[in-house]
Symmetry: C2
Subunit: 463 residues, 2 copies
């Protein structure tokens, strides 16, 4: 099969076919290979089932680094290496406990990444509920010595659930500080989730200098409703919360990197990848097992088809996207130190659902060029049609701040189900569909082929 | 909430907003209502869990008709009625049994709808395997007195799994006749499925006059592989098949129809719907619980928003799409007899996954007009972007053959997972995602609003 494909590919190169037709034949080969021979799904099974969740700094993250490196070493990369990254290591400790004191009804909660623990015996206090974070400014002293509970519901009306997520995300990122400013002794907020169930969604939060760091926890939608109803009946009810999460000493860990050298412009680099760490619940399947295993499989697909890249293709598994982004920061520092020509970045970190398109960060001319030239190749046959100016992924966005001329692509899978599982115990291998994932690999490999082949034709590229 | 929406809608009508802006506001209201208040998912749960699968002619199909009618009667339709349809009633009988005789390994099979049974004690015979149906013509007498087994695998390379389905569908529709022509005494074929598992996929088949009707069964992908491997080791192995399916007397049943009268062009009819029958395995959730419950919910959404249709909107639940299409045939006969002006047909019968677009059967001018005017309303915000010339659904295609000027829309949901569950025991409620289904309701209600509001502006419309 492989020899046949290499032959086909050589034929394609040597023929007089039009460029669009050559591209179209190549995309056919890529998709066919991805669906038939792609191994992203098999690799994902190993990552999720044999290693499992892998928060930065944890032994599992270390295991994921070693396993990823050995996986990359099975492929004909020119170089596979680890890039040192020092990361903070936050440890959840024992399972959180929370309940309404009077009725002993338990509440499903998850401490936020970075949260301090409660005192050893927990906290028992009255609860002040508000809908919006902004309502805290009207609290006066009413929150002092209490648990502040922000219960803003998810805006279900958005097909693009990432829009709903961004509308509520300050609840998680700024809530603890805003609550502490009003004298709260702990902070609860309604999980950032599109589903009404009893799974809390964790995620990172921040504290501020000179403001008390108070325990901060996400509560499931069902438990949030339960608590809200109970407060309507008894506004003086007390809630008990106990958790013993803590920061451990910094850990030296790594980004995992593999390079496939370009045969025409070896110094021009296309960076493609996603983050290898995950939250410490579930299995980090959609976030971001699919992105890491998918981008590797995209490169493996081009290798299997006998493709020879013009530019250097560099696969990067960033460490610590979830609670610190230190991997991406370090990647940027090294790239800048080495004066690298980062021409293109491709990131996959929005789930392994059916691929819908790419958000593109580039000049308006470059975006238009991509839409005009490449959208027609994807749209009708592969159902990938969403090519829009937009934001890069978190990791490439972070290091990309030092590389303003890098053209950045962010894979956008179907968004309907992502925030059902995001940062929860539900984000497991069984939630990933093989055909959807391998369809995404097809889209990533096709884009990688197109940017490598046609980069010089894109307006405003780095000379 | 409802009054507020009615108010908003009135405001919208009376304002001086541009048409596109009015449409855009209306689509926002529709999607918001569908995600927050839509009940397609709840109705689907009743249909699938309380009634279950419902092959035409069965008591469950009768129950589905009665329940559907009562469901429509809860809404402010002008008229709800049953349209008489006589259908053939095929009964599977006891669960099929099949095994490799020597090893006693069981094979997972499902009789095809319409298949005759085996003799009472079953059939034991040698098996002749071919890959393609066309290979049968080379068999000579090798198939005589044997079980013919067509094992053409699914073409996994198509993102649009409906293309792969159509490539293999003659295995199911023409296989039994082709095998019988060569003297076969039974027919097995590899299930039309995108997944490699042990679930066989049933579906309809046909016999021909003057050709023996032989038992015809689908075999699961895993059992097909097992049988094929066993045949490589022993080409004289025998397989046992027993099943006692049969045709029962014709049954008088119904299409279920509801009308919402137009206030400007009451004689011009927009027909929207899907088929209420299903195969007799699983729960007929994606095929076609989602289409029936979804189209009703689309109308209910417009009603809840205070919309008043210009043309008559007619909801039709067709009976017997799966094995005879007698409901759609009857609908066409009646519509023609009454000299109806069928201006538009909308069908949903391709699953309840995330909506991707509509196939459109219309003149090239009409298709271009729809793409230019409506695609921009859907594409960026609602992720519905696939508006292409294409085929109508099966039911509207059948009655539409008598109405060549009717503009026909066929909802195209994401195709990746449909043929995993299609016509199997796996097609159950739990395979449907609420957000995906209600997103489809948003797309259907939006299209319904747009065709009703702007039909007269479409080129080549019926005057």
């Amino acid at each position: 099969m492989k020899n046949k494909l290499v032959f086909l590919f050589s034929l394609l190169l040597s023929s007089n076919l039009g460029i669009a037709q050559q591209d179209s034949i190549m995309l056919d080969q890529i998709y066919r290979h991805s669906f038939y021979k792609g191994k992203a799904y098999d690799d994902l099974k190993i990552l999720t089932k044999e290693i499992g969740h892998r928060i930065a700094g944890s032994p599992q993250a270390d295991e994921a680094v070693k396993w990823s490196k050995s996986l990359m070493e099975t492929l004909p990369f020119d170089k596979v290496y680890l890039q040192d990254v020092a990361v903070p290591y936050w440890d959840r400790g024992e399972k959180e406990v929370s309940r309404i004191v009077d009725t002993e009804e338990s509440l499903s909660v998850l401490a936020l990444g970075g949260s301090v623990g409660t005192p050893k015996n927990g906290i028992t206090a009255e609860v002040v509920e508000v809908e919006y974070l902004a309502d805290l400014s009207k609290l006066g002293d009413a929150g002092r010595g209490k648990i502040v509970f922000v219960n803003k519901p998810w805006d279900e009306s958005h097909v693009d659930a990432f829009v709903a997520y961004s509308l509520n995300s300050s609840q998680r990122s700024r809530g603890p500080v805003e609550a502490a400013k009003r004298g709260a002794i702990a902070y609860l907020f309604r999980s950032l989730s599109s589903s009404i169930d009893d799974y809390p969604h964790t995620g990172g939060t921040r504290y501020a200098k000179d403001i008390d760091s108070i325990p901060a926890l996400a509560i499931s939608a069902i438990s949030a409703n339960k608590l809200s109803e109970a407060l309507k009946k008894n506004k003086n009810l007390k809630v008990y919360i106990k958790q013993n999460s803590q920061w451990k000493p910094k850990v030296n860990t790594h980004n995992v990197i593999a390079e496939w050298k370009g045969n025409i412009h070896p110094d021009k680099i296309i960076t493609i990848g996603g983050h290898i760490d995950s939250w410490d619940v579930g299995e980090g399947a959609h976030d971001n097992g699919t992105g890491t295993m998918g981008t590797l499989d995209a490169i493996r697909t081009l290798m299997a088809l006998g493709y020879k890249p013009k530019h250097t293709i560099r696969l990067v598994y960033y460490m610590n996207e979830e609670n610190g982004v230190h991997g991406a920061i370090q990647y940027g520092v090294e790239a800048q130190k080495n004066n690298e020509q980062q021409i293109v970045a491709i990131e996959s970190d929005a789930g392994g659902f059916a691929p819908r398109g790419f958000d593109i960060k580039a000049s308006q001319d470059a975006v238009s060029w991509v839409v005009n030239n490449w959208k027609p190749l994807f749209e009708q046959k592969y159902w990938v049609s969403r090519f829009l100016a937009g934001s890069p992924g978190v990791d490439s966005g972070v290091w990309g701040s030092k590389f303003p001329n890098t053209i950045m692509f962010n894979l956008r899978p179907d968004p309907h189900r992502y925030f059902d599982v995001h940062h929860t115990a539900k984000d497991v291998f069984e939630r990933v569909d093989r055909r959807e994932l391998q369809s995404g690999v097809g889209a990533l490999a096709s884009l990688l082929y197109l940017v490598d082949t046609h980069y010089e034709a894109i307006p405003n590229q780095i000379k």
